[in-house]
């Protein structure tokens, strides 16, 4: 029994407990308790991880435990974490915790809703705690079923269309990933040993370069679809706009990071030579994604679409940072995963709460809401400032590090893409400030809005948690980049740099 396994067991126990709940009160409390335990577990995990590192253990992955699954094929459930996965586990537990409170009043089929939501989270947790490609893929796919149902049943707007589009696009991504994984598996033992799906063991051998070149696009694009790689990001705006609040939070906040994590952990780490050969192509796509997403956000009038396009832009920045192959930019990319995860969850939570009151998400139908609901409004402004990269918030540090790292490449190509990508900071400022100006400031446009109430306690809890972490990371980015991630990037960097 490994400590890491608790991250999957606790959600499953929560799901079983929800099956026996009688009404919505019990359901939501069970979910809240389960996810609070999960939050505490992540805190404990961080402490344990730091203790292990403090003891001077410098293994790539710690708390490694091999649970045999399919011995004849050597597919195992190998657990193990490094600083990056620890931070992403923490991110997941923060977002799902806030998500449960954001869906406090989900009356319609409440049991099914919370079960699907938590199963979704289980898939994410499972993905981050394993280092066996097969097990990772199982958990990755686990998120598909609940996703379709969550958007299709509890969504708004063209929900059936969005749900189907999202599910099928992500499944098409899986199609690519399967080919990539099997290709790696059958080249994991060039000296005739036992084939393996274990990340660590695969990384000890060099996969022939022509094989790498064949497999890399499959894995990069496959995970890239989930990480909003242009032009395969189109599921994201529709999906996020139609999904219920908590699902948008979890999806934009965590699941898209799962895509970037897959790109980093599998495509870049295991196929470094191919990453060098083909990196520029994907760098161009990432740059287009950054600018396109930001421009797309300017054009939108629906709050959720604005935020969804902004997520596309920010997630493309993660890929951009990862493709720079240096410490600073990759560190920044990982920090961006966490910072954007919390930030976008905050936005979606707030949008859901505002929509619950005004019944519209169109910014031109709202105005002066800051006066009516000062708390939610202020939180939105703080989130916005963090998003546009104001110093003192997490977004600033992450973007600075990415662009700083990008600028260390002296060639023209890198300079050009970096300048283009950096222009998104300005565009981001435009759409954030415009949104804040239009619907929070100014006169109240709709008289009905005068009687709206401000946040209730569960909403305060949900928003407060997210705000707390945004600020904490902004003030102590060092804790994430140095203490937590520290040398966890080193193995990947070493492989990426060795032939350069």
């Amino acid at each position: 029994m490994s400590f890491l396994l608790l991250f999957v067991i606790v959600p499953l126990l929560t799901v079983i407990a929800i099956l026996f709940s009688k009404d919505i009160k019990q359901t939501r409390w069970i979910a809240a308790i389960g996810m609070s335990v999960q939050l505490l577990l992540s805190a404990a995990l961080i402490l344990m991880y730091l203790k292990i590192r403090a003891a001077g253990i410098t293994d790539d992955f710690v708390m490694v435990k091999n649970l045999v699954w399919f011995p004849s094929l050597n597919f195992n459930l190998t657990l193990g974490v490094d600083g990056i996965s620890v931070s992403l586990i923490a991110l997941t537990s923060i977002v799902i915790f806030a998500g449960v409170f954001a869906s406090w009043q989900m009356e319609n089929l409440h049991r099914e809703f919370f079960i699907s939501l938590i199963v979704l989270a289980t898939g994410v947790f499972g993905f981050f705690i394993t280092i066996d490609l097969f097990a990772m893929f199982v958990f990755y796919e686990l998120a598909v079923i609940p996703m379709y149902l969550l958007i299709g049943i509890w969504g708004t707007g063209p929900k059936e269309y969005s749900a189907m589009k999202l599910t099928l696009m992500l499944m098409a991504g899986s199609a690519l990933i399967i080919v990539g994984l099997l290709g790696i598996y059958f080249h994991s033992a060039p000296d005739g040993g036992l084939l393996t799906m274990n990340l660590l063991e695969i990384s000890r051998h060099k996969i022939p370069e022509n094989v790498q070149n064949f497999l890399f696009p499959f894995l990069f694009v496959g995970f890239g679809i989930l990480g909003a790689l242009f032009p395969l990001h189109t599921w994201s705006p529709d999906g996020h706009a139609s999904a219920p609040t908590a699902v948008s939070m979890l999806h934009a906040g965590v699941l898209m990071k799962l895509g970037s994590y897959g790109v980093f952990r599998i495509a870049l780490f295991l196929l470094p030579e191919a990453a060098h050969n083909q990196g520029s192509l994907f760098l161009i796509l990432a740059t287009i994604g950054i600018v396109y997403g930001a421009l797309g956000a300017i054009m939108q009038k629906d709050l959720k679409y604005i935020n969804a396009y902004s997520s596309v832009s920010h997630c493309a920045l993660i890929l951009f940072g990862l493709l720079m192959f240096n410490r600073s930019a990759m560190d920044g990319a990982i920090l961006q995963m966490i910072s954007h995860g919390i930030m976008t969850a905050l936005f979606f939570a707030l949008i859901g709460m505002i929509y619950g009151r005004t019944h519209t998400r169109m910014i031109n139908e709202m105005g002066g809401l800051l006066k009516v609901m000062p708390l939610l409004g202020a939180a939105y402004i703080i989130g916005g400032l963090a998003s546009l990269g104001l110093p003192g918030f997490s977004g600033f540090v992450a973007e600075m590090m990415v662009f700083f790292g990008a600028f260390t490449h002296a060639d023209t190509f890198h300079r050009v893409v970096t300048v283009l990508a950096a222009s998104s900071i300005v565009i981001t400022a435009v759409y954030i400030l415009r949104v804040v100006g239009v619907f929070l400031m100014g006169p109240i446009k709709d008289e009905h809005h005068l009687h709206l109430t401000d946040a209730s306690w569960w909403e305060k809890l949900s928003v407060g948690t997210l705000l707390l972490f945004i600020t904490l990371i902004g003030v102590f980015p060092h804790f994430v980049t140095e203490t937590l991630i520290g040398n966890s990037l080193a193995p990947a960097l070493e492989r990426l740099m060795s032939n350069f």
Binding site: F134, L149, G152, L182
Partner: protein, 474 residues
Amino acid sequence: MTYSIISIMRQELGLVVIALLVLFFDLVVNEKNKQKVFLIALALFGLHTLAGFFPFEGGNLFGGMYSTQPVHILMKNVLNIGVFLVLLMSASWLKTPQIANKSNEFLMILLTTLSGMYFMISAGDFLMFYIGLEIASIPMAILAAYEKFKSRSEEAGIKFLLNSALSTGFLLFGLSLFYAAAGSIYFDDLTRTLSQPSPLVALALTFLLSGLAFKLSLVPFHFWTADVYEGSPMVVTSYFSVISKGAVAFVLGILLFKVFPVFEGLWQNVIYTLAVATMFLGNLFAIRQKNIKRFLAFSSIAQAGFILLGLLHTDNLGIIVIIYFVLIYILSNLAAFGVAQAVYAASGKENIEDYNGFYKTNPRLALIMMLALFSLSGIPPVAGFFSKFFLFTAAAKAGYYWLVFIAVVNTTIALYYYLLVVKAMFINPNPEPLPTIRSDKYLRSALFITVIGIFLTGILSPVFEYIQAMVDKF
């Protein structure tokens, strides 16, 4: 000698005894107790299924005409599990007034076809193989036409019979060409004498493969499938789509891997092309279907295309994944058919749009249907994911990465239409959903078994490892 015949052929003999006992009881019991024969048959067949799992050495009989090895027994066991479930699901249908007076013949015919499949699997020469095939397929036409008071059922029977005759003709022609090429019909002689691909062998193989492709309803030999499936009684449709398909897949695997491994270069391309055509056409046609039986028929055509992925390369892993895949396919497809059966028995409805709002009134059945469909499309944590993944592993092992890609793209297409049914049950509003259904205890226990199977055969590895161990003794 006599003892060894009994011991080696115990599964076939056991099955024939059960079939004859059913016939015997049907003759001797009075009208009132006719229904009880079903219980006897069910109990005996259950015992027969369990008995198959006792470890047991194989052997050859009749100078190599018949041979059985652990792997053959395993294949028969997999079919037994499926037939047992089909029997459970048929209980309520057999009680309907128009069928009741001939319910016991139904059991007998069903078991007879199964014994034909046994002989086909255990065949050591083409004569035994052919006899087995005929025992299996001719009575199936009777099953298809069992609701003879319905014209569609009659039509299904005649269509099946004609198509089956045509395909058998092809197959027989192929077999005679093999005899011409090798001068023998024994598998051992064929593997020994035929070592060089020649035009004659290629022709023979083509006819043999087309004959089997008819039975497995691979594109372009699939035209009979949808009509026959739609017209036949629901129980028979489920039997066709899982048991007979599974048996033919096994036989195809045995023939290709054990008899014609030297001609791998010849049949690999054929299998490749058939797989791609079958997956695409099956899936694309399934999207358009409005009737749940036709829908499942086309989905099962596509599934047969997936099975071929395991047959591309002569390798134990291929046989392992095919058995594993068929087992899970049997469980998943029967779960889907079971729900369709419950709905049909209660309301007579079999269109997908009748399922709108199904979850509101029948949450359990809707969940089972959803699980079954997710298992068919291959999404974790249910078993279908694992069987598909291992199938892809087998294809990738032979180096067919693009085929794996095509197959997973097809999984995505399949997911689309499976989700349409899920959408109907869970999302589409319906002011008058189907009333709450209370099905009989046999159907419920069958569904229970399938659900347990769908959950556990994938996520827990012992089943897969057991199959692996059995095949390694091959």
